[in-house]
Symmetry: none
Subunit: 225 residues, 2 copies
Amino acid sequence: MPFLLLIEDDDAIRTGLELALTRQGHRVATAASGEDGLRLFKEQRPDLIVLDVMLPGIDGFEVCRRIRRTDQLPIILLTARSDDIDVVVGLESGADDYVVKPVQPRVLDARIRAVLRRGERESSDSSAYGSVVIDRAAMTVTKDGQDLQLTPTELRLLLELSRRPGQALSRQQLLRLVWEHDYLGDSRLVDACVQRLRAKVEDVPSAPTLIRTVRGVGYRLDPPA
Amino acid sequence: MPFLLLIEDDDAIRTGLELALTRQGHRVATAASGEDGLRLFKEQRPDLIVLDVMLPGIDGFEVCRRIRRTDQLPIILLTARSDDIDVVVGLESGADDYVVKPVQPRVLDARIRAVLRRGERESSDSSAYGSVVIDRAAMTVTKDGQDLQLTPTELRLLLELSRRPGQALSRQQLLRLVWEHDYLGDSRLVDACVQRLRAKVEDVPSAPTLIRTVRGVGYRLDPPA
DNA sequence: CGCCGACTGTCACAGGGGTGTCACAGGGGC
DNA sequence: GCCCCTGTGACACCCCTGTGACAGTCGGCG
């Protein structure tokens, strides 16, 4: 299920789109300002951002540029009225698509799916981490050619980690991404799952080289050397 | 050597792509309008069509639909980023892929080869999975040379799976592909059909080697080793 | 250098959820 | 009308999963 971040200061539009997008089967987080948006982006790591251009404080273009400095995730810009200057600046600031308000939720949904599809195709269906190969189409993970029989949760955990190689993800973020619920109480849930995953994936589970522990933070999948 | 038809009204882009694609080892015919394109298509019967969306007269979507009324050859749509108003319409009008201009010739070439590969696999009249042979022309499935008397639904299920060998398909996707309706409630329908299919196809139905279960996802037809 | 606290690894177990299986009734084709 | 196919619900089974407790490890600080 796609996880979106919607940044829009107008309360009516924001809640309206949030509702509509949720109905279309997305998970949606929202922010009402550029600052909040950037913070939420860093915390929650959405798959895609829908970003209003006219924002108080940091405007949409600036938010877009700042995100693009470090990350490649798809961004759809939202703006009132068609304005050629906006289109050019928008695409130059690194947005993947550009939608003019007022927008039909169905149209926005179609654009979102299109951009996500495009991204999926570009990020190849399989990736290799040393001897471990992840095949997203077959939903299998092999090690030295042998099928690793991961359980659904283990597989999801590995997939989410592999979508952000080299980036440390907190337990909180992993809970949201893999388990899709916000926990506050700490349990050893993530750790236990990581342990089971390591047992299958790592050469020496007690000295992991793929799924590294980032003390005080969480875990990180190391890209191949 | 693949034979392509390139339909694009902008002279610079058309000649540029023609040159590039020829260098990549394709034979290329070109047309500058939808009408010309359709005529050339009927005359020359290319293996694949690269089709611009914005054309004077008959536009790309319409060309696509007209071709699809009678033929199944692969079509790649070409569109400028600013007017990708409807990716959805493009894919729904029957195109196999969708490329945004400006496009690197190497990228276009890669897409062309990918689509052609996909097409070859699908259209090949028969394919073998171990001792099981699927004959799409005769619509029969044999095992060790013996006809397997599949029921219509079983056959369709197997055909859909075999169109995407090695790819895991969810129950949801299979319902759409085989039964052509969107269910939300879960029933054991897919499972039951898979079970019946396994009973005929597998050597040991309780330990399937062809139609594998992907826990938490769905099913997958394993390609021959 | 050693202690201490916080964080992480590990394990066993009980509960739950997903899957395989089956029988049966309705329906459609010959 | 007969028969085969198909969809459904029930049920059992097994694997997975979440939890809590405890041991182990790391880093900081005196």
